[in-house]
């Protein structure tokens, strides 16, 4: 088991991540300190959660480009409600955010499932539609810190056993995903549908419904992140998390989730997100101009996809007996 792990994508990615952290540490002592690592993790929490949602979708051979818009829209909705009616309990708002996110995800899912429109087209459309709706709701106005209730803002940053609640939520979602992906029929169906949609039918799995479910799950997580984002940064406006959808896809790609579907692990998605998170946090600390960040994440994506493709290359069918064990 251990040697197998050492050969896996996750192990290589973990090694790269540790190497990256140590590299920054040499330039700036204290970066690798546990307290700072906790901060980095907390900072990356939202990316991790979204990457897990996106992973579910990508596993089924789809893609959801509307996640960041979904996040921004649900964030604006809960912030608006909070500003208008501060009495509504935060728990209710969180549930609402998740529910609304799921509805937005379901809209994508239903178009993919019932009308068979390619996911990239659907989510390219909803990417702009959801973002535009925020403007219609807010008329472009921001909702600022002082308009939000104290409880609304306090929840994600409240500390519990030395970790902020935001980090705990990310950890909980990771745990939930380990169970969902590894231990439920739906989780395994993601792999089956993405890996061999044709064959999935034979096992009684509905390809369309499985994809729909993946979109709904991803949407729900985006909704949750909508609340987390606006409360953490204590601001809601139209462009919240603009362009973040590509960061999320990038995290998945770096984490070894195959865009062709059916391949990927929870660990990979988390590590991919953390890799981007560390880069983002390390650059300002290590004194590298933040303008390098974009190029570095771009290069990381290309290297990651090239690397993954190399290990995924199909072997073809081996007919010669002598060759069967050699390869």
């Amino acid at each position: 088991m251990i040697t197998e792990f050492l050969k896996s994508r996750e192990a290589i990615l973990l090694a790269a991540l540790v190497a990256l952290i140590l590299l920054v540490e040499t330039r700036f002592a204290g970066f690798a300190a546990p307290s700072n690592m906790v901060d980095v993790f907390n900072d990356t929490s939202i990316l991790i959660i979204l990457a897990l949602g996106q992973m579910a979708v990508i596993l089924t051979k789809c893609i959801d480009l509307s996640l960041a818009s979904n996040l921004a829209l649900t964030g604006m909705v809960v912030a608006t409600i909070n500003a208008a009616a501060p009495g509504v309990p935060v728990a209710a708002l969180i549930l609402l955010a998740i529910a609304l996110g799921m509805v937005l995800g379901a809209f994508n899912g239903i178009l993919v499932w019932k009308l068979d429109i390619p996911p990239i087209v659907v989510t390219l459309g909803t990417l702009t539609i959801y973002r535009g709706i925020i403007f219609l709701i807010s008329e472009g106005a921001w909702i600022n810190a002082h308009e939000m209730s104290a409880a609304f803002k306090a929840f994600p940053r409240a500390e519990f056993l030395t970790l902020p609640v935001l980090s705990w939520i990310a950890l909980a979602i990771i745990a939930l995903f380990v169970v969902l992906i590894g231990r439920t029929g739906l989780g395994r169906a993601f792999y089956a549908v993405g890996g061999n949609p044709h064959a999935a039918v034979y096992t009684g799995i509905s390809v369309g419904f499985t994809r729909f479910a993946a979109f709904v799950i991803a949407g729900g997580l985006a909704g949750l992140c909508g609340y987390l984002w606006v409360s953490r940064y204590a601001v809601a406006y139209v462009d919240v998390a603009g362009g973040f959808e590509l960061d999320v896809v990038a995290a998945c790609v770096i984490g070894g989730i195959s865009i062709a579907g059916g391949i990927g692990t929870v660990g990979g998605a988390v590590l991919g997100a953390l890799f981007l998170g560390v880069i983002k946090n390390a650059l300002p600390v290590a004194g590298i101009s933040p303008f390098w960040q974009l190029a570095i994440s771009g290069a990381a994506i290309i290297i990651a996809v090239a690397f993954n493709a190399r290990s995924e290359r199909t072997k073809g069918r081996v007919i010669l007996k002598s060759a069967e064990h050699a390869t």
């Binding site: 068979d116 429109i117 087209v121 390219l124 990038a250 390098w292 974009l294 771009g298 994506i301």
Partner: protein, 334 residues
């Protein structure tokens, strides 16, 4: 006729339906209808719409994007995609600005802009065709990489002071209200239309998009053609970078931000199948007009850009979803 009933036509006609029927049923006809509708609505909604100068200004809303859209259409028909086009614009524009610092003149700037575009296209092409990587991921990566390099070079600075002869490429008028860019757009539309619809090369693009394996088995040099398409997309991005830079008169790394999505939307709205294998240049031209008119018409009503994007997004999903929805309802499945 049915094949099962044993009738055997001795003579198989060339076409199943008449040319007229084919035209009426085409996606392009639908787009023409949409375009006419929007044109009428705009004319009605704003007294300023039907003014040659205004219409001329409105063309800037789509000319540069459509140039890239043509090459992107070919690429998507062949089953690939390039999301790095806006990144290429940023990098090409930055290269031109950099060269400007050394006193390079207009011809040199154009050459540099186009060369950088082609080089970026080559980079994408090599990654996709030689290393066999999925283009959607590769170009998400190069999108960040190309723009990232522009950020590294420029940071929060800007290049400006482009010569006036260069400015003509983005701001000049060739004849009355006809801008230089519009001429480039029209010429490219004709060239791409001919290449896609009337040449061996164009035919092979469709074949690859429909079935790359069968294409390979039919002697089509699949990888080579895909490589050429990436180069073309890079070339078009380079040309668009020249036009846009000339129009803006300055280069910043955020230039053409998020254009890739608008361009893909334009191409898909134009009837190009995102799964590859189908589409036409006329469709892309019409989609460009539709999108340009929608944004300009709403602009005249001072509707914010983000609200226009709801229209564009809705149009994109709507025109694809509606026919399928109707089919489903007809079949009684809903």
């Amino acid at each position: 006729m049915s094949l099962a009933d044993g009738t055997r036509p001795r003579h198989v006609p060339d076409h199943l339906t008449s040319r007229g029927q084919r035209v009426i049923r085409s996606w392009e006809t639908l787009l023409v209808g949409v375009a006419v509708l929007i044109f009428l609505a705009n004319t009605w909604a704003s007294p300023y719409f039907l003014d040659p100068w205004n219409l001329s200004d409105a063309t800037f809303n789509f000319t540069e994007k459509a140039m890239i859209g043509f090459a992107m259409a070919l690429l998507i028909i062949s089953g690939e995609i390039d999301l790095s086009v806006a990144g290429i614009i940023a990098l090409a524009s930055t290269a031109m600005g950099y060269a400007l610092q050394f006193g390079v003149g207009t011809p040199g700037l154009v050459l540099i802009g186009i060369s950088v575009g082609v080089a970026c296209g080559a980079f994408n092409g090599v990654l996709v065709t030689r290393l066999g990587l999925p283009s959607i991921v590769v170009t998400i990566g190069t999108m960040s990489l190309f723009r990232g390099i522009a950020y590294i070079v420029l940071g929060d600075q800007a290049y400006n002071g482009y010569p006036s002869s260069f400015a003509f490429l983005g701001q000049g008028y060739v004849f009355w209200v006809i801008t230089f860019e519009l001429v480039v757009f029209l010429v490219l539309a004709v060239i791409y239309g001919i290449v896609l619809h009337a040449t061996n090369f164009g035919r092979q693009i469709y074949v690859i998009g429909n079935n790359p394996t069968a294409a390979l088995f039919s002697g089509v040099r699949v990888q080579r053609i895909k490589m050429i398409l990436f180069l073309l997309t890079g070339l078009m991005s380079g040309i668009a970078a020249v036009c846009l830079t000339a129009r803006l008169g300055s280069t910043r790394p955020s230039i053409a931000y998020a254009w890739e999505l608008e361009i893909v939307t334009m191409v898909v709205l134009g009837g190009v199948s995102i799964l590859g294998g189908a589409g036409s240049i006329l469709g892309v031209v019409l989609a460009a007009l539709v999108m340009g008119m929608v944004t300009f018409g709403l602009g005249l009503l001072n509707v914010p850009g983000i609200v226009m994007s709801i229209f564009i997004g809705g149009l994109l999903i709507g025109v694809i979803a509606l026919p399928r929805l109707i089919t489903l309802i007809r079949k009684g499945q809903i």
